[in-house]
Amino acid sequence: MNPPAVHCHQIHRHFGNGDTRVHVLRGIDFTAASGQITFLAGPSGCGKTTLISVIAGLLQPSSGSVSLFGRDLASMPPDDAVRLRRKDIGFVFQQYHLIPALSVAENVAVPLLAASMKRRDALEQASAILDKLGLGDRLHQPPARLSGGQQQRVALARALVHQPRLVICDEPTAALDHETGHRVMELLAASAVHPDRAVLVVSHDNRIFHFADAIAHMDDGIITHIDHPNATTTA
């Protein structure tokens, strides 16, 4: 039996000291399984971004442990953590964070280039995935010439191009209008889900909750309950 893609145990995280000390995560137990889309939902400021930062190894928890694919992050040498992030995690950010100086295809190739793949091979793979996401005719354009929805699709391609085992999306539709956001989610559901990959989506937009296999509801630093929307509709 494979270990879960993401497993968090009693994560606490606070910021600041003394009077300014805020306790943002207050004992999170959380699991995300491969082959599924797991949502992290909850009001703004409840700690969702902090939690995924901890999960991705970008932020140290104050206490508690995170393991990815059965490996404990805290006991990993720092270089290994960076390598794991480069190889096994794909990111989609609310603000896309594409590099304006690079073409669409070059942006998508960045994770491959970071892993020292040759530029030509990297661009080839980037073009292939962009084709799949319906942006095959935009390869050489700068991202600024694309609409918001198209830019988020480029970001999605960048998150998937190196076939990571975990895709982390922070509010991927928040900057988009409802219809565009919906289309991006459809593409995400269609292209990201894979038996060997867990997809973690942070969102408080309940209009896209039906894409989720599981929804962890967060409030004020704890997970209050977990829904399985598709399981209930089929039951």
């Binding site: 971004t49 930062s53 992030r85 990111f91 960045v110 922070d170």
Partner: protein, 379 residues
């Protein structure tokens, strides 16, 4: 990832050009000012450096540099010749008479009186005529700049006459003597005739030029001459430096250039450093995204260094090109002849600009390395 770094660098054309031109202009200014400074300082030693056949200069102990001399006694020449190791020694006179043309133009001139028999110290690079025509009676050789000063709108030619303190002399040659510190014409004549240009005063011996026998270095000979005769004796190179040092110590020229050079360094450092720093700060979000994606700190450091190196090198190349063009143009003009871009200056400026760029890169790099990758989630 290096092409990504280069693209990021050149993406904002205005900022990139600003950075490159800040470096280019401080490079130009520094190379320009240090070269002009070196060129002007070298002029104070040109009369010595132009004399290639002697290797030791002997003078009165009170003479510190070429332009101001205390006369030697005629017997001093014999004393120098008697020093063991001297292959030969000849007299040299330096004088500053007023030269007048038939049309009434006049200017103070530097007259060098050469040993009658050997013409040691005669200008070897002649533009017109020949130096051995100095053997003709009442003959002088004048340098091109001097000729043009005294005979404006006359083509370069021999045969014109000048009056030097009421004695007539005929121009038998035009030399290409290296520029003096002042704008005075440089004239060469035989010692016996140059003496006559002095007018009232008694004849004076300014220098004795000597050459060591084979196997003796100019420095050794200079030491021997000083210790035996009590006169001041210097190898040509040492005496050239004496003149340069005299002007450095006793004129405002180094301070003047020093201020310009200091300002060029500070402006270059501040402007290019700050532009590069701002450039990095503005791209911090992109660096954070790269960090989150798993680009390691060493790779990010190399990216920033590459960006700095490329901007620094482009700026230096453009600035040096501008300086080369400047000196290419001005070294052909009479007033600025001989002032060139020295490779030593270019190399020094290159080292300095490398330091400037490295400092700017180091500051920017600190920002990038300390960057929290989690910042990428904050909008």
């Amino acid at each position: 990832m290096y092409f990504v770094a280069l693209r990021m660098l050149s993406a904002d054309k205005a900022k990139y050009l600003g950075l490159v031109f800040a470096i280019a202009f401080s490079t130009f200014l520094l190379e320009n000012q240090t070269s002009i400074f070196a060129g002007i300082m070298k002029r104070t030693a040109n009369r010595i450096l132009d004399v290639t056949d002697a290797e030791v200069w002997v003078m009165d102990p009170a003479t510190q540099y070429f332009d101001e001399t205390k006369a030697l006694k005629d017997t001093d020449l014999l004393r120098v010749r008697a020093v063991p190791g001297v292959a030969w020694a000849v007299r040299l006179l330096k004088d500053l008479p007023v030269a007048r043309t038939a049309s009434g133009r006049f200017n103070q001139a530097i007259v060098i009186g050469l040993d009658d028999a050997t013409l040691t110290g005669a200008p070897r690079r002649m533009l017109l005529g020949s130096w051995d025509r100095l053997r003709e009676p009442n003959s002088i050789i004048i340098d091109e700049a001097g000729f043009r000063l005294l005979f404006p709108s006359t083509p370069l030619r021999t045969g014109d006459t000048l009056e030097l303190n009421d004695r007539r002399a005929t121009i038998v040659g035009i030399s290409d003597a290296a520029a003096p510190f002042t704008n005075f014409p440089i004239m060469h004549a035989r010692y016996s005739e140059a003496r006559e240009f002095r007018g009232r005063e008694r004849s004076q011996l300014s220098f004795v030029l000597a050459r060591p026998q084979p196997g003796i270095s100019p420095n050794d000979l200079a030491n021997r001459i000083s210790s035996t005769t009590g006169l001041r004796a210097r190898s040509s190179l040492d005496f050239a430096w004496d003149c340069i040092r005299y002007y450095m110590a006793n004129t405002g020229i180094p301070v003047n250039f020093g201020i310009t050079i200091a300002i060029a360094i500070i402006v270059g450092l501040v402007v290019s450093g700050q532009t590069f720093y701002l450039f990095t700060v503005e791209n911090l979000r992109q660096f954070a995204a790269l960090k989150a994606i798993g680009v390691t700190n060493p790779t990010l450091a190399r990216m920033v260094l590459l960006q700095a190196a490329v901007a620094g090198f482009s700026g230096f190349a453009i600035g040096t090109g501008m300086a080369a063009l400047f000196f290419e143009t001005f070294s052909r003009q009479l007033a600025t002849r001989g002032i060139i871009l020295l490779w030593q200056n270019a190399a020094g400026v290159a080292a300095l600009m490398a330091l400037v760029v490295l400092a700017a890169a180091a500051l920017s790099l600190r920002k990038v390395l300390q960057l929290e990758p989690a910042a990428v989630f904050r909008s």
